[in-house]
Every structure is written in structure tokens, then in C-alpha cells.
Symmetry: C2
Subunit: 409 residues, 2 copies
């Protein structure tokens, strides 16, 4: 349809049985769906993925969240607590390359669909589990959502203003950040499976995955020997100066620009002085090295702020960034939503959904020969039940109808 | 060595020519290295990846950061500005499956190693570029580091305390978050290349990749119609209550616990009241629904805090989490560093480095049949020059020596 996206076929023919819900699991299988895998969500016939309904009592009323993590997938309904439903799930797993689940600890095993059961019927399957805490952790039986992973994985401790209470990073890294690591391991495992026929069990814990995103913090700790303190308006490590958030006109909640002068490139500092028309500062003894600029930031920052406050964040970014100094305006979600460049480049695309109409959302950000993969609608609950049971298992329309009448699907 | 890790061979035989530096690029190729690819860093003979030396003037003095993003890789030195060096780089690219670079915009093309040049000598290569801004963006020529991507990609705008200035999430999501999306696309592209012989160009911009991690924020914006405001001590969306950070004994900077009661599970609230020995609150008309608990949080929060302040964060997590309510203590980097469970489970491993000794760091968090991949030392600058030029290109020791004498390597 749109010329700025493509139907991506990297994973053409790869079959994924997707038992995931909410975000940590769906963000993983969504990545596979963007790349062209056939991702089939198995949902319970009554309400489906609870991520479909984030305001209880109002059916199917928060489709936005669901769209975000389930575009390009299929949905079938199966009552896994009925013996025949369980049998159908196993038949699908026999045909699958990959199975992913993120149910509460122990749930899938109690259903009779744990790795041992599934491996017995499909030894080549890549069986993937995402939990809050790792098996063997003191908290392995505990429930977790994004914020719990971010608390116990360290990302909250390093986020916030210096000396004040911690805050949760505004992004759901505990969920999607974890999903990304699992997607990578799945695709690695698939290459080995393609060559050897050998499957495996993959497991990731959201708490553990946070450490992966905290590596820079751990390296800072190794350098200084103490726990990393949050200092969210400055660059960490205290060796780049000036580097931080500066206020801009007209003074709104997000009217800030981040300006970063790297100690690795002395030109950044002199260019910044020129942009501000303060060339006399370049060789000012208080500011002549990066270390001195960090040390004397109480004197330097007001000079920079005095300049940034005379400009909007967009002007400041254009002037500073245009002069070859890393600079970025703090953009809010509405500014990003309305930025035409994202649409032109296919980074934001509009999902045409049969019941919810058009919905503009971020597509997969990696472009292939210049174009990102095309978004297609997230599935209506059970939309592909007949399609998948026919194409994967050879069931007839009548078979499907009977199973639906019997409450199995 | 350690029984809690394995030599992972998912990508055995896959050859990666790695021109990356700092973190956005190295975090991507590091993921491939964990999965068993042969990742060869091409570094300039003088200083190598600038990520090796994050305090200028003190050679090789910040190995921690470098270790984090370059474990399990090889390093060779080539002077790409010498004609013979460029020729050797091309010879390596002829043998490669994947090439990844994150130089400043236009740099690799000026070196004569852009996609057109490389495709001409290896049509099956997967050629990957990570930049701050996308080609076609108004800022495509601008420089970017992590914080610039986080400013312009929205993550800073949604992070911080309600009503106060924004802060940067303490994790380097602009770098590693971007690297993860590229690693996923690379592995998808590799599957197609294995089947068809066809390579491709993959490109990702750090700003664009941030939108991928902001999908929950965009769905919140879609629901309410306004830009998402930061509120970093509460769950977003305002529909789960209570859910937020509560202060614990003895009142230190990170003595907090996140307690999350989901509107999707009424038991969470009643369990919490029981844990606090406040069963009379369960049916208190002020707090009887999630919406009322959010509305009346000014009355409710002090009651919860009064309880949490009587416990350490670890006690609070054990009591609340143990009662089946999602709960997480805010752990700092030192607490995570010293947590024995991470070592027992192979999530934290010690790199044995020939010059820097033992270094404990997070390993790849996804476990394969119960074990994560084993960490091996990050390479000394040029450590594998002879090894790789011999095994990939058939050069002799004498050839390598001569090239070194000539300043090519």
C-alpha cells in the first residue's frame, strides 16, 4: 500500500505459537511478526489477552495498547482447560517452530504444556519463557509487571533528579526491553535448529534482562567503587562538560534541550562558545578542560542557560546541532506523533483496523533497503481460528463450527 | 569453566566485520557474539574504539565500559586510510556475512566502504548502519549520543517526577535499546540470506528506535488525547491503585518498594490490606474500586507508607510479594553487583582478562536449556590481527609482520 514500507519476508514460513499476554511476551513475538513470521496468538475464548481490555468491565475498550504489541499477528481462540482444546494446542505445537509464553510462574506447566510435554511431541521446537524472576532466584514464584522488574533490576535506582527520590523510567523497558533479548535468542536458536533439527528451551527473567541495559551503570560503578547515584539532568560519569539539560523558551514542562560536549572532541566546546557568541570563554581558565568545566559547572551552566532561554528548544537544537555539537530538543509524545518526517519515512504508520478504524503507531524502526516493514491490523479475538486450524491442521469448516459449538474454541 | 554457563554455538561460523564504536553499535554486535558469531572489530592502530579510553590522555584506563560491550569479540587493527589497509578491509568484507558500523554520518561512505562499494564485492552481505537520525530526517547529518536520542525520541519527556523538570532515564536505552532492534533485524536477514543468497542494507536511527520503546506511552496518549505527562512514582494511565513507590526503613536514597495492585485482579487489593493488617480497608467505601483508590490516593498513600516505613525494602518485598501481590524493592547497582543469585545462575559472570584481571559483569540474560552463554575476555587492541588475517585471508606470519612494519595494521 504505502510506498514507504515493504512486506518483509525474512521469516517467511516460520510458525510461532504465541501464548503471551500484556507486553513482555507480545513485544517479543511482535518483533518476529514484523520480520514476516506467522505468529498465532492462542487466546481464551472469553476475554482473550487481558492486554485487550485494560479498563475492566468495558469490553474491548482499550484497543490502542493491544494494537501496539499485536500488529501483524493472527488470533485464534482455544479453551485450554477443555481436553479437546488442549489436544488442538498440542497439534498446533507439533507444527510450530517456536512457542513463546509469559504466564504466571508454573501456569503453563499446570496446563500440561510445559517444555517437557511439548518437547516430547516436537523435539525441534524452540520453547521460550519470559518471567519476572529467574528460576533459581529467591523470587522465582513472585509475580511481576514492568515496574517490578525495573525496581529490582536497578533501572529505577539510577533514574531521577540528583539527591531526590528515585523514579521509574517512563518507558516500559522491563517489558519490551526483555522481549527484545528473547527475540534475539530465538532467532539465534532458529539458525541452529534449521541446521541441526535441534530445539531448545529459552528462558529470560525481566529482572535479569534489566542488567543488560544497566551495563554502562555497572561500568561507572566499577570505575568509582560506589553505587551509581542518579543525576538525570547531567551525563553520567562526570567527565563530559558541559553536558545536560538546559531550559528553553517559552518555559513549558518540556521546553529543554540536551547539549552534549564530549571530552573526546575539543571542538565541541569551542563550537558551542561560538554558537553562543561567547568566544572569550573558549580559553577561560575556569573552563579550559572538560574536567574544569565539570568542576565549575555552577558558574558555567547559568551562562549556557542564559543563551538557551532566549531560544525555543527547536531553535537551540538547530543552532547547536547544526554547528556540529550533539544536541537534542526534548520532544513529547504529541510532538512525536505529529512529526511529518516519521510518516514520510515509514517509522510511524497507520494501521487500518476493521472495527477501530485508522490508528497511527510506531512501526518496526529498522529499515530494509530503505523501507521499514508494513503494519497490518492487530487481530480481532479469534479472527483467524478457522484460517489457522485449516491451514495448519487440515480441519474443515464443519470441524471448526462443531468445536465452536462445543465451547472448545 | 563455570558450570553455570555454556559455550553457545547458535551462530557458529557466522562472520561479522565490526566497524562499531562506543555503545549503540557494539551492543548490537555483542549480542551476536554472545550467540557464538565470530565478531571481528576493525580498529584503528593508534587508539582503537574510543570506548576503550573514556578519560582522555590516560591510555586504556577505562576498560570497564569497553569490557561490557566487547566481551567475546576479536580485535584486529587496520589503518583504513592507507590504500593497502582499505584493500584488506575489502578482502575481509568479501568473506563476511554481516558488516555493522555506527560512524558519524557519511564517514564510512567517504572511506569507500559504503553499501554500494561493499555490495559490489559481496552481494550477499547484510550491511548494517546505526545513526542518530534517520536518512530523510531533518537532522540526518547531526551527531548523536545516547542522551540526544533520548531527548528527541521522547523517553526524557516521560521521565521524572510529576510537575517537575524532565530527567534522562538512567539507562543508556538510546544506545543499547537501538542495538537490540538492529540485532533482531540482522538475524532475520541472515535467515533469508541463508535461503536465497540475497543480502540487504539495514539502517536504524537511534531517535526512531526510541519510539519502539515508547509504544505504551503512545497508547496512553491515544486514550486521553494529550501528550503523556511524566509521573515517575506512579503507574501510568491512572487506572491501577494503589501502584507506586513507597518509602521504607531506614530512609536511605534507595529505600523504596514498588507495590502494584492491578485493577485486573481484585485479590491484589484485599491481599495487601491483609498484609498490612488493615482488613477494614478492603470494603471501605473510599477505596472499594481501583478507580476510587486512584481518586482517593491522598488518603490512601499515607496509610500504605505508614506500613512500609516500618519495614526495610527487602522485608516489604518479601511480605507483599510473598502474599501474591507484585512488589519490588528498589535495588541499587552495588546491591545487584553483590547479589549471589546472579552469580549462581550465571546472569553475572567474571571475565578473566589478561591485563585487567577478573571483572564481574552482566552476561547475556537469556538462558539456553538452563544456562546463559559464557563470557570470554574482551580483546586487547589488535590481539587477533594475525589470527584473523590468517584464517580468513590466508596471510602468513611474515605477511602480517610486513604490513605491521609498513603501518598498514
Amino acid at each position: 500500500m504505502a510506498e514507504n514500507s515493504i512486506e518483509l519476508d525474512f521469516l517467511a514460513g516460520v510458525r510461532v505459537v504465541d501464548f503471551t499476554q500484556f507486553e513482555a511476551g507480545p513485544s517479543c513475538t511482535e518483533a518476529l511478526a514484523w520480520l514476516g513470521a506467522e505468529v498465532v496468538k492462542i487466546e481464551n475464548p472469553k476475554i482473550g489477552d487481558p492486554g485487550r481490555r485494560l479498563r475492566s468491565g468495558q469490553p474491548d475498550d482499550d484497543p490502542y495498547y493491544f494494537h501496539m504489541f499485536n500488529a501483524n499477528k493472527k488470533s485464534i481462540t482455544i479453551n485450554l482447560k477443555s481436553p479437546r482444546g488442549l489436544e488442538i494446542a498440542k497439534d498446533l505445537l507439533r507444527q510450530a517452530d517456536i512457542c513463546v509464553e509469559n504466564m504466571a510462574p508454573g501456569t503453563i506447566e499446570r496446563l500440561g504444556l510445559g517444555y517437557k510435554d511439548v518437547k516430547a511431541i516436537n523435539s525441534g521446537i524452540i520453547f521460550c519463557q519470559i518471567k519476572g524472576f529467574g528460576s533459581g532466584s529467591p523470587y522465582e514464584k513472585n509475580l511481576a509487571f514492568d515496574m517490578i522488574a525495573q525496581a529490582t533490576g536497578g533501572t529505577i535506582s539510577v533514574t531521577g533528579e540528583r539527591g531526590r527520590q528515585p523514579v521509574k523510567p517512563g518507558v516500559s523497558l522491563g517489558d519490551t526491553g526483555t522481549g527484545m533479548t528473547m527475540a534475539i535468542s530465538i532467532l539465534g536458536a532458529l539458525r541452529k535448529r534449521d541446521k541441526t533439527g535441534e530445539g531448545c528451551q529459552l528462558q529470560v527473567a525481566m529482572q535479569d534482562a534489566m542488567l543488560h541495559y544497566m551495563r554502562t551503570n555497572f561500568s561507572t560503578q566499577a570505575k568509582f567503587g560506589t553505587a551509581v547515584e542518579r543525576d538525570g539532568t547531567r551525563s553520567g560519569g562526570g567527565t563530559n562538560g558541559p553536558s545536560g539539560l538546559y531550559p528553553c523558551a517559552p518555559g513549558g514542562l518540556n521546553d529543554y534541550v540536551w547539549i552534549m560536549t564530549s571530552r573526546g572532541n575539543a571542538e565541541h566546546w569551542s563550537r558551542l562558545c561560538k554558537v553562543m557568541d561567547r568566544e572569550e570563554l573558549i580559553n577561560d581558565p575556569r573552563f579550559v578542560t572538560p574536567a574544569l568545566r565539570v568542576k565549575n559547572d555552577a558558574e558555567l551552566d547559568p551562562m549556557i542557560s542564559a543563551w538557551t532561554k532566549r531560544h525555543t528548544k527547536h531553535e537551540a537544537m538547530a543552532l547547536v546541532g547544526g554547528a556540529g555539537i550533539p544536541a537534542g530538543a526534548v520532544l513529547d509524545t504529541m510532538e512525536l506523533q505529529n512529526e511529518p518526517s516519521f510518516v514520510e519515512r515509514g517509522i510511524m504508520q497507520t494501521m487500518e483496523h476493521p472495527t477501530h478504524g485508522g490508528f497511527k503507531m510506531p512501526a518496526w524502526p529498522v529499515r530494509v533497503n530503505g523501507k521499514p516493514p508494513k503494519v497490518t491490523a492487530s487481530p480481532i479475538l479469534g479472527q483467524h481460528t478457522a484460517d489457522v486450524l485449516q491451514s495448519w491442521l487440515g480441519l474443515s469448516d464443519a470441524d471448526v463450527q462443531k468445536l465452536q459449538d462445543d465451547g472448545v474454541l
